[in-house]
Structures are given as structure tokens and as C-alpha cells.
Symmetry: C2
Subunit: 320 residues, 2 copies
């Protein structure tokens, strides 16, 4: 495939269970960096398996999960989180002793709850979550650079095998990521505010716009460059994946949503009563957070001139 490495790969055989945006990006990154001696893919259907081979994402593909994981040194579940339990059960008989099992799901407590009970003795389970993605889905959407300069959070259970953790960390680092180890419950709380709530809100506002009359809806699309388009991008993310995330991180999402609702009610009141100082003070405060994001190189921008513009100096008033 892409490159033949001149060194021993980190893993002999890697099985990717589900090859969508994340799975296919991982396949390409493993190829590029020579991290796997062999890559096996799993898709639900025969057609899906054929597609993976046509795209040259794996050396072989199997619709039977137990066959896909046969002899694999590393198995990574790359499916919407509600699919994990059934897949873990189905693949368990094929897992070899000493294999590492991981995943890429955006909730971690639920994944541990769903997968761990099915794993046989001697298999090391190290759940993981690469903080990376785009609004596109499917095996065609992946690219090897997706994980570069991004964080990967690993949430090993208590007493997890140190060597397995170390080896999985090295794999993600080789893909360009920074690895962090975190408690699963803490992960779910942090992601509820950084990822799940933003997606929920984006889906909502785009839905609110979709419920306008036809003529207004056309104009919303037309004039979307004024702020709305950023929300449409987020709200174009995979529907199944996101349904599963909300259902599986229910408590943390509902708590953050409650805080958000209180805050927006306060702003609503400030607008109704013309309290300009309340608005301005919040709007200045939020700019600080953006500065932190830019400083960490996690920004992204729509400014056509500079892909990751570093300047967010204190604004000069328009009329100064």
C-alpha cells in the first residue's frame, strides 16, 4: 500500500472494527507511518468489505467480527458507541490472548460498561478517544493527517496492563497525536461541555431554522456566512454517532445543558431589559477563552488568508 516501512512495525496485525471517517483515517495513518504489519477491516456487509478493499484501506476485510480479529495484536472499535456491545460479544471468541482492545468513542464510561464484560481473560482493554474529526462520514472521508497535532485521551481501567497502555500510546504518538490519560468519568464530563453540548446546540439551532417557512429558510441558507454556517457544519456530523453519544452520556450532557439554559435565560433577560453592560462584560470575557484556544494551536479559522492565524489581540474599537 502507501509505503513499505524499513523497520519492524509496532504491531503485527491490527483489526479495525468499523471503517468510517475515523477508522479509515487510522488505516491511512497506520500505512503511512508503517505501524502495522497487516491491517484487517470489518464492515457489516459484504459490499462494505469490498468497498474497503477497493479503497485500499486494508489487506483483508471480514463481515464476521470474530474472523476479523483472529490473531490480531491490536483491535480498535471504530463504530457508533451503541454498536459496541454487540460487536464485542461477536468478536470475543476470535480474540487471542495478549491482544489489546481499544476504541475511539466519544463517551468512555458507556464503552467500558458495554465492552469489558465480553472480553476474555488475558485481553487488555484500553479505551481511547482521539479528539479529531470532520463533518464528513464514511470510509472515503478519512485522511492520514486527521490526528496530527490533536489530542488522544486514553482511559485505562484500574490495574490496566502498563505495557499495553505504553504501546497504544506510542501508536497514537506516531500518528502525530498527543496522548493524555484520564479517568473515564472525568473524560465524559469534559467532553460533555467541549463537544457534546456544542453539537446539541448546533443541531438545535439548525433545526430551529429548518422549521421556518420555506421562503425564510432559503434566505437562512443564502445569508449563512453571517454566523449560521459554522453551526451547519457541526450539525452535518454523523446522525447515528451523535444520537448514540447523547443517549450514552446522558447525565453529563443534561447537567451542562442545564447550566447553559440558565446562562442563556440570563442573557435573554439582559436583552429584554436593555442591559448593555451585562452583555458587553460577557462578550469581553469569552474572548479570553478564544485566546487560550488559539495559543494551544487548536483554533481553526475561516479567514482565507491564514489557516491558523495566531493573533487575537484585544480588539481595537471600530471607531478608534
Amino acid at each position: 500500500m502507501n509505503q513499505v516501512p524499513d523497520h519492524q512495525p509496532l504491531f503485527g496485525k491490527v483489526a479495525l472494527i468499523g471503517v468510517g471517517l475515523i477508522g479509515s483515517s487510522l488505516a491511512r495513518a497506520l500505512h503511512r507511518h508503517g505501524l502495522a504489519g497487516e491491517i484487517v477491516g470489518h464492515a457489516r456487509t459484504e459490499e462494505g468489505c469490498v468497498r474497503l478493499l477497493e479503497l485500499e484501506l486494508c489487506d483483508s476485510a471480514h463481515s464476521d467480527p470474530a474472523e476479523a480479529v483472529q490473531d490480531a495484536d491490536l483491535v480498535i472499535l471504530c463504530v457508533p458507541v451503541s454498536a459496541n456491545a454487540d460487536l464485542a460479544e461477536a468478536m470475543a471468541p476470535g480474540l487471542k490472548r495478549g491482544a489489546i482492545v481499544s476504541d475511539v468513542g466519544s463517551v468512555k464510561q458507556a464503552v467500558i460498561r458495554d465492552v469489558d464484560p465480553f472480553l476474555p481473560e488475558g485481553v487488555h482493554f484500553i479505551p481511547g478517544h482521539p479528539i479529531a474529526g470532520t463533518e464528513h462520514s464514511g470510509p472515503e472521508a478519512g485522511f492520514a493527517e486527521l490526528f496530527e497535532n490533536r489530542y488522544v485521551i486514553l482511559t485505562p481501567p484500574p490495574g490496566a496492563d502498563e505495557e499495553a497502555l505504553e504501546k497504544l500510546s506510542r501508536l497514537w504518538q506516531a500518528c502525530g497525536s498527543t496522548v493524555e490519560v484520564m479517568d473515564p468519568a472525568h473524560h465524559d464530563k469534559v467532553l460533555a461541555i467541549t463537544s457534546h453540548l456544542p453539537h446539541l446546540i448546533a443541531y438545535t439551532i439548525v433545526g430551529t431554522a429548518a422549521n421556518l417557512e420555506e421562503s425564510e429558510r432559503r434566505e437562512v441558507v443564502k445569508y449563512s456566512a453571517s454566523g449560521f454556517r459554522d453551526f451547519t457544519r457541526i450539525a452535518a456530523s454523523d446522525p447515528i454517532m451523535w444520537r448514540d453519544i447523547f443517549l450514552n452520556n446522558r447525565e453529563a450532557v443534561l447537567e451542562m445543558l442545564q447550566r447553559f439554559s440558565e446562562d442563556i435565560t440570563a442573557l435573554q433577560r439582559a436583552i429584554r431589559w436593555g442591559e448593555g453592560e451585562t452583555l458587553e462584560s460577557l462578550f469581553r470575557h469569552t474572548r479570553e477563552i478564544r485566546r487560550g484556544v488559539v495559543e494551544l494551536g487548536q483554533a481553526g479559522t475561516f479567514d482565507p488568508r491564514e489557516p491558523e492565524k495566531a493573533s487575537t489581540a484585544e480588539p481595537i474599537r471600530k471607531e478608534d
Copy 2:
């Protein structure tokens, strides 16, 4: 300055009242396309005026608005909307008969209410709104390409001078924009949903995150690539400008906010009761809206490979 045009410019003398992101971008676009014989800038302070000259944004700069608009054929107010009334009053004595006065504000009914009463007989008022911007502010932030492939909405009052409307349209078209004419009240309603509500929500969620404990706040910034960063970008927009927009488009914003609140309450309930179908159905629906945005070339993307990726085909399930 940038280029000396070999044709007669569209306007002899253009006065920009306020030279921030929009004003400085317009100055650069006017230069580049040879649309003005002379550009005069207005800044509140002498230091501000000096800065405009250092940046080569105008041929001259005045802190007195009446001096700035002296003999101008076109005057464009480029200030936060709450500053319009005072500036209109201050510049009125300097306006020449036949001059066109316009603006770039994100609300149009309030601008008409604030500016029109001060304009002398024989001056043509054609309010305008370029749907373009970045999260950066100030005269350094502008660039000539800002208006390319973007819409500019003009909201001429009943009986407005046709020739003035036509000439102002040609100016924006020459800057690369598509001009649309719209009723001011309708503009304010459309922008409430496409721009004002998205900004309000982005400010709120970033504020919600800012109120977390210090340790959690650091992590929110760190893992912001998971969705949050898009909101921080919007929430880094000019605080004064946005305070004024919310205060001056109060009714339309509150109405859209009410609809949004109802919709998010319904989603909250669906999450609490585990109604996966409700979630999935909304998440599929919103993807359609994104498709419309992409088709109109108004998208923007964070995908590092393709600046304006055109594909948002129906997702392939991750596990297919």
C-alpha cells in the same frame, strides 16, 4: 497606494466613518479596484487618525465627522450601530447636496431610525449590510478580499433615489459581492436567525465554559477541537458591536431565541427519556440545511485538505 486605476473611479471622494475590520477592508477593496478618487477616514481620536494614515488606508483622516464628509460623494458609516445617531448628527452639517450616505450595520431598522432624521434635504440614504466578517477587529484586521463571493443587502427606504441605489450597488459588485435589495424589517428578522442568535448562543456556551472551575476550564480549552472551538471563534467577535446589535434588534432576537429555547427543551426531554428516534430524525434533517449552504458556496470548513470541500453526500454508516 495599492494601484492607480486607468479609468475614471466610480466615486470621486469616499468618506469612511469608522475604519475597523469592515471599514479597513472596504478601504483596501476601493484601492484595489480603483473605485474612489480619494478616500477620507474618520477616527474618534487623533491617534486613531494617525494610525489610519500609517496603515495607508486613506488619503486623509479627520477626527471631526463634519470635516471628514466635506465634499464626499459617498459616506459610509462603519461603526457599532449605537454610535450612528451621534455621528449622523455630527457629520450632517458637512454633507454636500447629492451625497450618498450608507452604512454596514447588522441591523437596519434601528439604523434608519437613528440616522435618517439628521440627514439634510438632497442627501440620499441607502442603508447597507455586507454579510462578511471575521472574528478579528480593528483597522489592521481588514483585507480587500473580505467581500468577495459574499452578499451585500441594501435596504433603501420607500422612494429612495434609483440612481444612488444603482451606483452603490455597482460599488459593492466591484468589490466582488452579490447585491440584494430587501425590506429593513425583513432583513432584521432574517439576520436574527442567521447571525444574531448564533452569536448569542456562541457567547453563552463559551461563557458557560468560562464559569467552570479553573482545572476544568483548562481542559475545555485543551480539548476544544471537538466542537467547542467553532463557538470560541464566533464568541471572539467584537464585544461592542455585538452588544449594540442585540440591543437594537431586540424583538427579532427575542422571538428567535424563544423558538430555539422551545426546540432545545424538546431535545433535552428526548435525551432524558432516551428517545433515540427523535434525536436521529433531527440530526438527519439538519444535514440537509448544510447541503444547501455548501451548494451556495457559503460553507467554509476546517478540513485541512480542501478549503471549500463540496461533498456532503448522505453519510455512510460508520460500520457499513
